[in-house]
């Protein structure tokens, strides 16, 4: 258990992705089966234990520690599991904070599996006596089902792949054929057995991605044009008996969009864009802003589903039944997709339309004329392209709408994270109101070069007027030209506006702050 609890601690304190991967890889290499398999299950969210309620945990501690001291401690620490882990009194005659090594992660999981919900607190208490504070924290997090260490399932799988020199997409393919503690997976990774056969399981297939269009034009006899929808790219994998939804990173997001998973019962693999229908858009696709309400939620209430109904606009068909279509041309796959559409529930699925343009200039006109909030730009797909993983030159292009820009005034700056923790690299900027006040309109932390960052950092330090913890308020003198993909109404900000993907396009040292843009001017750009 100590190795696992130390891993969790280290993951909490390590901010860089590579650092986290290295920690996971080192743990998986060094830890024996079946402990490492259970750890991998816990990290990927595949450890299914009957959750002990937090009320049962607080009862456990109240029976052992003065309840007043417990309440004061809880107020100070915040997190229940951490408070209890720190407060847990050592067994009589034992030194405090000693992991005596008698509990392996596998023993812990077995005992939690075996006990009834009523008996769980006693079983838990018994195990707590054998662990140190980190071990108790890990145990309580496992038992309450809330293991949050800031890593995604995909990251854990990438750590696994890195540990044994495998390709993460290959790991992804066999993943769903296996279950915790994944002994066959480790046997394969360490060369003791053949690759597990994923046939019949809903596994993720790597997405085909696009390059930004840099050429001035392409020939539309070679390329088909399609809208680029501003939602999240999604893959629907159905085996007939099970359906999974995967994000672009390969994370299983079925639980966040249960209505989509439930609406698909077919045996196929589809590629599309997940969008929500905006009431105010007459049932049409709403902006990314609306979709954000649904993202990152583990549990989705019925109200959420009703207020932000999700649907998928389909781009491609990768497999139909057991037939792999990825080697076919885009034109052939498109025909198969169109023929497949009648199988689908029309409230949850529709077809991404092909843009009908006589030539590239006509397409450019159509692209320039669109004001739809859900459109990010145009996709250009080579008609004879096979569906291949990743970004391959000259096959697919994305031709985003030109970004909007605004001249804003820097108001606040905040320290960055990781390598940037010594730099003021996150900037809040504002525009003028009619009363001559600056109201914040956005925050950006990219778009500048390393040299510009050094300059901006120095500007912040030399022009600080107030400090609020990690944030500095600066003299309102520096104009930043901010580029953004779109701008929306927002109740969260004082200005009533929220930008999508804002970044610093230029530092306008030449421009007086008084000449920066106005909030009223920005409102005219709202889509």
């Amino acid at each position: 258990m100590r190795a696992f609890s130390q891993l969790l601690d280290a993951l909490v304190y390590t901010r860089s992705r590579n650092g986290k991967l290295a920690l996971i890889a080192a743990y998986l290499r060094a830890t024996p089966d079946p402990d490492r398999g259970w750890a991998l299950a816990a990290l990927t969210g595949n450890l299914d234990l009957k959750a002990v309620k937090s009320s049962a945990i607080s009862e456990m501690i109240r029976a052992r520690v003065d309840p007043v001291l417990y309440e004061m401690s809880r107020d100070y620490v915040g997190d229940l599991a951490e408070t209890v882990a720190l407060l847990w009194p050592p067994p009589p005659g034992e030194p405090p904070d000693l992991d005596d090594g008698t509990l392996t992660l596998a023993t812990v999981v077995d005992r939690l599996h075996a006990t009834s919900r009523a008996a769980a607190p006693d079983a838990l208490a018994q195990m707590m006596d054998h662990l140190d504070a980190s071990g108790r924290f890990a145990l309580l997090k496992l038992a309450t089902g809330g293991l949050r260490v800031g890593i995604s399932a995909r990251l854990a799988k990438t750590g696994f792949a890195q540990a044994f020199g495998l390709d993460v997409d290959d790991v992804e393919q066999v993943w769903h054929a296996l279950s915790p503690p994944y002994t066959e997976l480790f046997d394969w990774a360490e060369g003791r057995s053949a690759r597990p056969d994923p046939a019949g399981t809903p596994f993720f297939r790597p997405f085909m991605l696009a390059h930004p269009l840099e050429a001035d034009s392409v020939d539309l006899t070679d390329y088909a044009a399609e809208w680029k929808w501003d939602g999240i790219r999604i893959q629907i994998v159905g085996t007939g008996s099970d359906t999974r939804l995967y994000s672009r990173a390969g994370d299983d997001i079925s639980a966040s969009f249960p209505e989509i998973a439930a609406a698909f019962t077919g045996h196929a693999v589809l590629d599309g864009e997940l969008l929500v229908r905006g009431e105010f858009q007459g049932g049409e696709a709403a902006s990314f802003n609306a979709l954000q309400q649904r993202l990152g939620r583990k549990l989705v209430s019925a109200k959420m589903q009703a207020d932000y109904p999700a649907f998928v606009r389909l781009y491609d068909l990768l497999l139909e039944g057991e037939e792999d279509l990825r080697a076919l041309s885009w034109t052939d796959r498109r025909a198969r997709l169109e023929a497949y559409m009648p199988n689908l529930d029309t409230t949850r699925f529709d077809l991404s339309a092909i843009i009908d343009a006589a030539d590239f200039d006509a397409l450019a006109d159509i692209r320039a004329g669109t004001r739809d909030a859900a459109i990010e730009g145009v996709m250009l797909k080579r008609r004879d392209s096979r569906y291949v993983a990743g970004r391959k030159a000259a096959l697919w292009y994305k031709w985003k709408r030109d970004p909007l820009t605004a001249d804003c005034v820097m108001m606040y700056a905040q320290r960055g994270h990781g390598k940037r923790s010594s730099f003021y690299s996150d900037y809040t900027f504002g525009c003028w109101t009619t009363d001559g006040e600056l109201h914040p309109v956005g925050k950006a932390y990219s778009g500048f070069t390393d040299e510009e960052l050094k300059w901006l950092d120095r500007f912040v330090r030399q022009n600080t007027v107030a400090r609020f913890g990690p944030v500095r308020e600066v003299e309102k003198t520096l104009v930043l030209e901010v580029a953004f993909d779109s701008i929306h109404d927002s109740k969260r900000h004082k200005s009533g506006l929220a930008m999508r993907f804002p970044r610093i396009a230029r530092i306008r040292r030449d421009k007086p702050a008084a000449e920066a843009d106005t909030v009223a001017g920005l409102k005219k750009l709202v889509s």
Binding site: Y13, D66, L69, S73, Y76, G78, E82, L86, D97, S422
Partner: protein, 331 residues
């Protein structure tokens, strides 16, 4: 009881001696427990403190006028017998033991009970009134064994030969203790210091604390700092200063590191739970040991300790001293 001693927001007043203990504003006569800024301030008329504390105050404030009091030595001021007893907190730290009218009062200043190679260990003195600190006065604070924390620091260094380990430690006491503990665990390579540490480390050496090969961290190429241990004040951890180091692992030596969110707020990668203050068990064990008739709690999380005293039939009160709770970096 003990009507001759009065707690005030600006310090503890010893009436018959007309002297203040650790006053936070300039006073004519001051009895100072140790050199940390929230206990020792400049500008007093006359100071009584240990030789080491006076030297630290001279370095920090340039104050010269003071009477050194040796550990165990007795002085008399206005009918009060005063004795300085080791508190185990930092070099020169003392509890002040006052006897008058048949009553004994012990003012601990800050203290801890576990061994510290840079100072003499805490000596419990039975008394009528025990005036204690409560910086870590919550039962979640239980400091682990010092050796195991130092081993984690050495393990991180060993596992990352291309990086340096930057240890945030308070410039007076914690920094020197970390260095001495590293030496005691067999680390004899040069240890590099932030400029703000150098004068205090030099003073420690003058006062007889051996710390081995110490070097300034400035003026050395980043590549030559790989695998090194660097000690800096906590404020330098995430500041421009640290950019000179090769991808440093930021460590922080403090009792606050016991709580995850506290460590994360400080952007710390390697939290080391290493404190110069008594943890919860040390606080409660010490009160039991000196068995006072009454316990006064000066600063920290006093509510919890007050509650503990009440539930253990120990008379206790919390003193609201000003300016004593803004010292988080010192934990």
């Amino acid at each position: 009881m003990a009507h001759w001693i009065e707690p005030h927001p600006t310090g503890i007043y010893v009436r018959p001696a007309d002297a203040w203990i650790d006053p936070s504003v300039p006073r004519e006569r001051a009895l100072v427990t140790h050199g940390h800024a929230d206990h020792a301030r400049g500008g007093h008329g006359h100071v009584w403190a240990t030789r080491e504390t006076l030297a630290i105050m001279a370095l920090r404030y340039g104050t010269a006028s003071g009477t050194p009091v040796g550990y165990g030595e007795e002085i008399r001021l206005g009918g009060v017998t005063i004795r300085y007893v080791p508190a185990g907190h930092v070099l020169g730290s003392a509890q002040i033991v006052l006897t008058h009218a048949g009553e004994r009062v012990v003012v601990t200043g800050d203290y801890k009970r576990r061994p510290d190679p840079t100072c003499l260990p805490f000596e419990p003195v039975p008394c009528d009134i025990f005036v204690t600190e409560a910086t870590f006065g919550l039962p979640v604070f239980r400091h682990p064994d010092t050796g195991s924390e130092i081993d984690r620091l050495l393990a991180a260094r060993h596992a990352n030969p291309d990086r340096s380990v930057l240890v945030g430690a308070y410039a007076l006491g914690k920094a020197q203790r970390v260095i001495c503990e590293l030496r005691a665990r067999g680390h004899h390579d040069p240890i590099y210091l932030h400029g703000a540490m150098e004068r205090m480390c030099n003073l420690y050496v003058e006062l007889g604390v051996e710390m081995g090969d110490l070097r300034p961290a400035t003026g050395i190429a980043a590549k030559d700092m790989r695998g090194s241990i660097v000690v800096a004040p906590p404020s330098a951890l995430n500041d421009r200063w640290s950019r000179r180091l090769p991808d440093p692992i930021t460590a922080m030596a403090s009792g606050w590191m016991r709580v995850r969110q506290r460590a994360r707020q400080k952007n710390v990668e390697l939290p080391l739970i290493l404190s110069d203050h008594a943890d919860w068990d040390e606080l409660t064990d010490t009160i039991r040991e000196v068995a006072p008739t009454e316990t006064w709690i000066t600063h920290g999380r006093e509510e919890a300790l007050l509650h503990w005293c009440m539930t253990h039939q120990i008379r206790a009160r919390a003193l609201a001293l000003v300016g004593r709770d803004d010292e988080e970096e010192e934990g």
